[in-house]
């Protein structure tokens, strides 16, 4: 094999994290709150894959469409039952964030209960598992390596097309920019919100369904991954979908590669400190440039030296400045 397994692992993880970070950023754009329950949708996806492979005996890939729809539905239900009601009551950002934390606790407990129910009903051990055996192989590579990257690129391209070319996407962007003005123009904000919550929940659950095909999964995996998601989203600037793509890739690759290199150089004990890498990103971004890559880009465009560097690379054209 030409690609070492560890690079494949980091690429798979990075593509999953990218999908999750995009969703997290979209939620932040439309609802203006960090959704702490976002990682838990991925936890639901993990158990969709588990149910399809271990209980039904099918390929976990067949569960992906169901995971997308299920995640979307859960997300929409949360929006209608909790977020929308609280927004109607005049809840601020802090109250809404606390409510998403409560949803995260509730959903994680629900996943745990489901895992115990599976044990009681089918006698399978659903608390710590890996579904690599259910994967297929393409030209010597594990299927998930190709599938995760293709799915992520597909999602990013479709999302880009939708946000820039379709009426729905433009309505979404205008709703994120100024909901009141958008509603004056005749956009049904409620429908747009429901659509965007469905999209983010579905993407998160889809990303979650891919996790157990390469990584060891437990009921709390979804709750643990939220730090990495937030690091990726924050690195991208928190309010920029394209930034979230870069942020997700950077945090995902560095989380696995830095741990591996650290283990080779310093010893096995580095592995235990892996959760600190996304936290390091979080704190570093907040200390250096709280608006992430987006803020850095704007700062570069504003300064003369930054402009000359960007022109020499070819990233900035004359007409963009005008």
């Amino acid at each position: 094999m030409l690609i070492p397994a560890i690079w494949m692992a980091s690429l798979v993880y990075a593509s999953e994290l990218t999908l999750l970070s995009i969703g997290f950023t979209l939620t932040y754009l439309t609802a203006k709150i960090p959704n702490f329950a976002h990682g838990t949708y991925a936890g639901v996806g993990i158990y969709v894959s588990y149910t399809f492979s271990k209980i039904f005996g099918l390929s976990p890939y067949l569960g992906f469409p169901l995971a997308f729809i299920l995640g979307g539905l859960i997300s929409v239900v949360i929006y209608i039952l909790v977020i929308k009601v609280l927004q109607g009551l005049g809840g601020g950002a802090i109250v809404l964030t606390i409510s998403t934390l409560a949803i995260q606790i509730f959903l994680t407990a629900g996943i745990q209960i489901y895992a115990f129910w599976l044990r009681a009903k089918y006698g399978t051990y659903a608390l710590l598992f890996l579904l690599k055996d259910f994967d297929f192989r393409i030209a010597g590579f594990p299927g998930i390596f190709a599938v995760s990257m293709i799915l992520t690129v597909f999602c990013v391209v479709v999302l880009h097309y939708m946000l820039t070319r379709t009426k729905m996407g433009i309505a979404m962007r205008s709703t994120a920019e100024d909901p009141e003005l958008a509603s004056v123009l005749g956009i049904n904000i409620n429908r747009i919100q429901i659509f965007s919550w469905f999209l983010t929940g579905g993407m998160a659950c889809l990303a979650g369904a891919m996790i157990p095909l390469w990584f060891m999964s437990t009921p709390t995996t979804g709750a643990m991954i939220i730090t990495s998601i937030m690091a990726g989203s924050l690195l991208g600037g928190f309010e920029n979908v394209y930034g979230a793509v870069i942020g997700g890739i950077v945090v995902g690759i560095s989380e696995i590669m830095l741990t591996t290199w650290g283990q080779e150089l310093l010893g096995a004990w580095v592995g235990e400190w892996r959760p600190l890498i996304p936290m390091f990103f979080l704190v570093a971004v907040l200390l250096i440039e709280p608006r992430g890559l987006q803020g850095g880009w704007e700062r570069m465009v504003a300064s003369d030296t930054g402009q000359s560097i960007l022109k020499s690379i070819g990233l900035l054209k004359e007409e963009q400045l005008a």
């Binding site: 709150i33 960090p34 009551l89 606390i98 409560a102 949803i103 606790i105 937030m230 235990e272 704190v283």
Partner: protein, 404 residues
Amino acid sequence: MMQQVALGLLTSSVAVEGTSRLIVDIAMYFGLFLIVAMALNFQYGNAGIPNMGCAVQVIMGGFTVSAITTRLILTLVGNAGVELLPWASDYDWVYNNPANVATTNTWLSTEPVFGMSMLLFTLAVALILGAIIGWIIALPAIRLRATYLMIVLITMADASQIVGRNVTWISGGTLGLFIPDIFKWYSGDRTIVMAIITLLVGLISFFIFRTMLNSPYGRLMRSIRENEITVGSVGKNVVGIRRNILMFASGITALSGSLLAFYFSYVVEANYQRALWTYWPWLMLILGGPGNNAGTFLGCALIIAVRRIIIVQKWFLQEVFFFPVAYFEQVLLGILLIAVIMFRPNGLIPEKLLYIPGVNYTMMVQEEVEVDWRGTTTVQRGFSSGIKGIFNVLGGKKSKEEKE
């Protein structure tokens, strides 16, 4: 009757069991969470700082006991001439810990003054270290928007647990560390003394917070919560004040971690989980009423009583569920949190106006204070308006509507 029970509890030389055990347990946890919830009320309810990192400060208190107090006790006991196994290296520190603690406990059984001074020393160090942690937390986060602050603090709570798990010399890693029993001189059950001390510390911190909130500084805090730009425009250093509040509250919160360590005589990072030490205090605060001391007190008492009874009686509940009761507890936490936010956003006891000595603020506001920017408005003060105010209070909204 109650006196006899209390005396019986204090003087009995056997371990408490059954219902008395439950009462001691509830008292202990009530004291601990009263400290955390009041500090949270101080920060969020009054100054508007959403501190989601209470667990960091609590774990700091626990680490103080295991890393500093235990070392100090072992050094002092060794200097007093007691033969101890080596404890300098990381391996010896964990491996010889139970034997060393047992030897130390026999020595401590005749030294009440030494034990109590160690308790006071620990509380002082925990206060200082907690304040330092508050300062460190404030460094990256205090200038940020509230949501960013919450994200950073939640991740810091996880980071502190990872540190505790992997740095052996702090709290013995995953194995945990035994703590010398500073109440060995007491013939009865240690936990009763510990519960009484914790309750005392909890009540003292309750009154400290209450006094601070009713002082000019408390009014400054509330004004920062309402509009920090206005406060900044009249020359107050908003960032500095918020950092001071975070440091003070962090120091007090760290006390509860130390007290918990002495209660168990054991420190392990798993005791200081984020869910237990951050989300439950938030539920107490929101249930009782953010910004109201009495409300926080009530919320704390209610939640602790219900939760301890569920935990103690869990074998009866376990027969009903096929999954561990711990997850039922989490479901309950999630649902309660959302339900309270939705249906009682102001809590059981809503926020009240602050007490200002010399000014009968409550009655003043019960009078219709017509702030009319166009002309002169007479705001009635004094005795007669006070009487009217009382009638307004008794009459409720009706009298106001009639006047209109």
